[in-house]
C-alpha cells in the first residue's frame, strides 16, 4: 500500500472538514483532487512564464512554448506514445473522442458502414458515434456485456463480422471498474480491419498504460481524473493516422498558409490545436504526471485494488448490499446498491458524515438498463484514500440502513 500519511498532506483540500467530519473523498472516478505541486505549477507558470505559445519572437514566449511542449513530452512518455507528435492536447477524453469522430470518422465512415461500441461505454464514447452514424447513414452496433460485467467476447466477435470501420471501447469501465483486455480487443478489431478508439479516462490515472503495447490507434485521456486541472487532456494516436486526417477546428496555429479562399495545414499535432491552447492545463498535467511517476503507477494500481478489495469484502457483509462488476480484473471502483434504498438517498446520508460518493447512472445509461437498475452508488479510490476512508464508508452505509430500516432485496 502507498504511504498515505505522506501523500495526504500534499492535497490541501483533504484538510477541509465536510459537515464537521474528515473529508472522505470517494468520487475519484468523477474527478481527482489536486496536489500542491500541480496547483503550484499553474501559479508558477502564470507568475513567471506566461505568454502566447508558438508565435512570440521574445524570450518569454519561448519559455511558455517550452513549458507547453515539455508537457507534451511528459504525456508521450507517460503512455509510451509512438511519437510526441502523436500527442494532441484537448480539453479531455470527451473532446478527444469527438475529434476522432468528427475528423477520422467523417472522412472514413459512409452509408452502410458499421461502428462498434460496447454496452459499458461512457456516454462520451457512445454519443459522438451515434451522431456520426446518424449523419452518415451508418450503423452503430453495441456489444453486450456478460452477467459479471465484462465485455462479451463472443458478441464482440459477432460484431466484428460486419467489418466495422471503428471499434471503440473503454480500457477501464467507470461504472463497473472492469479492466478490459485492451491488447486483445485491439488485436481482434485490427484483424477485422477496424481502427480502434480506446477511452482511457479511467485507465490513465490508475494503471501503467502503454499504448504501443496494447496497440490502440487512438487513445483518449482526461487530466482532471489524474491530479491535473479540469480542461486538460490528450488524444494519443498513431502519427500516420493523424497525418492523413482533416483538421478538427479551424483557426490560428493549425494552419501552414492561408490564402483568400483556402488554406494549408500545419504539421501534427498542431494541425489539431487551432486557437490559443490551454497552456496552464498542459503545465498542470505535466506536473501531475511527474507526481504519479514518482509514486509509480504499479504501486498506485496495487493500492487502489487493495482498498477496493477490502471495501467489497466489508460491504458484502452487510445484508442487502449488492456489489456490481467482475470479481477479477477490476480497478478501484466499487459500484453497489443497498436493499431498496435509492442511491441518491445513500449519497445524501453518507455526505452527512463527510463521505463523498457518486449516485446515479454515471453517464452509462445503456449499461444501467442491462444491470436492471436505474442507478447505483459508486465509491472510487485514489492515491490519498486509506483504510480509514473504507471504515467511514462502511459505517455510514450501515447508518443509512438503520435510518431506512432497510429491506434486503
Amino acid at each position: 500500500m502507498l504511504d498515505t500519511a505522506r501523500i495526504r498532506p500534499d492535497f490541501p483540500i483533504l484538510t477541509k472538514k465536510e459537515n464537521g467530519s474528515r473529508l472522505v473523498y470517494l468520487d475519484n472516478a468523477a474527478t481527482s483532487q489536486k496536489p500542491r505541486k500541480v496547483i503550484d505549477a499553474i501559479v508558477h507558470y502564470y507568475s513567471f512564464h506566461n505568454a502566447n505559445v508558438h508565435r512570440g519572437a521574445y524570450a518569454l514566449a519561448v519559455e511558455a512554448t517550452d513549458a507547453y511542449e515539455a508537457a507534451r513530452t511528459a504525456v508521450a512518455r507517460f503512455v509510451n506514445a509512438w511519437t510526441r507528435e502523436g500527442v494532441v492536447f484537448t480539453r479531455g477524453t470527451t473532446e478527444s473522442i469527438n475529434l476522432v469522430a468528427a475528423s477520422w470518422g467523417r472522412a472514413n465512415v459512409g452509408r452502410g458502414d458499421t461502428v462498434v461500441v460496447t454496452a459499458m461505454d461512457h456516454h462520451s464514447n457512445i454519443v459522438p458515434w451515434q451522431i456520426l452514424c446518424q449523419e452518415k447513414g451508418a450503423t452503430l452496433r453495441m456489444v453486450e456485456i456478460t452477467e459479471d460485467g465484462r465485455i462479451d467476447l463472443s458478441d464482440f466477435g459477432r460484431a466484428l463480422e460486419a467489418k466495422p470501420k471503428i471499434v471503440a471501447f473503454p480500457y477501464v469501465s467507470n461504472s463497473l471498474g472492469t479492466v478490459n483486455p485492451a491488447a486483445q480487443l485491439n488485436r481482434l478489431a485490427h484483424a477485422a480491419g477496424a481502427v480502434t478508439v480506446v477511452d482511457g479516462a479511467q485507465s490513465s490515472p490508475h494503471l501503467r498504460v502503454d499504448v504501443q503495447a496494447i496497440d490502440s490507434d487512438f487513445y483518449a485521456l482526461s487530466g482532471h481524473k489524474m491530479l491535473a486541472p479540469m480542461g486538460s487532456g490528450a488524444l494519443i494516436a498513431k502519427p500516420a493516422l493523424l497525418d492523413a486526417m482533416p483538421p478538427y477546428h479551424g483557426g490560428g496555429e493549425m494552419i501552414e498558409r492561408v490564402w483568400d479562399d483556402h488554406s494549408s495545414w500545419n504539421k501534427i499535432p498542431h494541425k489539431f490545436e487551432g486557437g490559443t491552447p490551454n497552456v496552464e492545463a498542459a503545465v498542470g498535467l505535466g506536473a501531475a504526471i511527474a507526481y504519479l511517476e514518482q509514486l509509480g503507477l504499479d504501486n498506485v494500481s496495487a493500492h487502489e485494488q487493495e482498498l477496493a478489495r477490502l471495501t467489497i469484502e466489508r460491504l458484502s457483509q452487510i445484508e442487502g448490499v449488492t456489489v456490481f462488476g467482475p470479481r477479477e480484473h477490476r480497478a478501484g471502483v466499487v459500484p453497489f446498491t443497498y436493499g431498496d434504498i435509492h442511491p441518491h438517498d445513500l449519497a445524501t446520508i453518507l455526505d452527512k458524515d463527510g463521505v463523498c460518493i457518486r449516485a446515479g447512472h454515471h453517464c452509462t445509461q445503456p449499461l444501467m438498463r442491462r444491470l436492471g437498475v436505474a442507478a447505483t452508488a459508486r465509491a472510487s479510490f485514489y492515491i490519498y484514500n486509506d483504510v480509514d476512508d473504507v471504515d467511514a464508508l462502511v459505517t455510514a452505509v450501515r447508518k443509512a440502513g438503520e435510518l431506512f430500516g432497510v429491506l434486503a432485496s
Binding site: 442511491p343 441518491h344 446515479g360 444501467m368 435510518l403 429491506l407
Partner: protein
Amino acid sequence: MNDLGELYQQVILDHNRNPRNFKRLESANRRAEGNNPLCGDRIQLFVQLDGDTIRDIGFQMPQGSGCAISKASASLMTDAVKGKPVKDAETMFEAFREMLAGGANAPGKLAAFSGVRAFPSRIKCANLAWHALHAALQNRAEPVTTESAKDF
C-alpha cells in the same frame, strides 16, 4: 443525524416504503411524464379530471427509479390533491415551491418536506412530481424535465 432526521421524517420514510396512489390509472384523461436527466429518475403521472376536479390520480416510477424524496413527494402530493379542484392543486404547488425556495411551510403533511431546504441537491427530487402535475393540468404533451423548468 439532526439534519438527516429533518430530511427523512417518518412520514417521508413511510410514504417511500408504502407509496399511496402508486398505480397506472386506466381512466386517466391527463398524463404527464417528469424526468430528472441528471440522475435518471422518471415519474409517470395519471390524472382523471372531472370538470375542474381531480377525481383520481396515480403515479408510477419505472424500474426502481425514484429516491425516497421524489417518491414520497409524489405519494403525498397525490393524497393532497385527490378530490380537489384544479385551482386548489395549483395553489398547493405554489406553496410547496415557495417552501422549498426558503418560504413558509406548505400546509398539512406537505410541510414534511421543509427539511429538504437544507439539502439544495435534493430540491429537484421533491419538485419533480409537482412539475409533472402542473404539466398534466396544463395539458402539456412534452415531458417536463428538471433541466427545462426555470423554477425547479
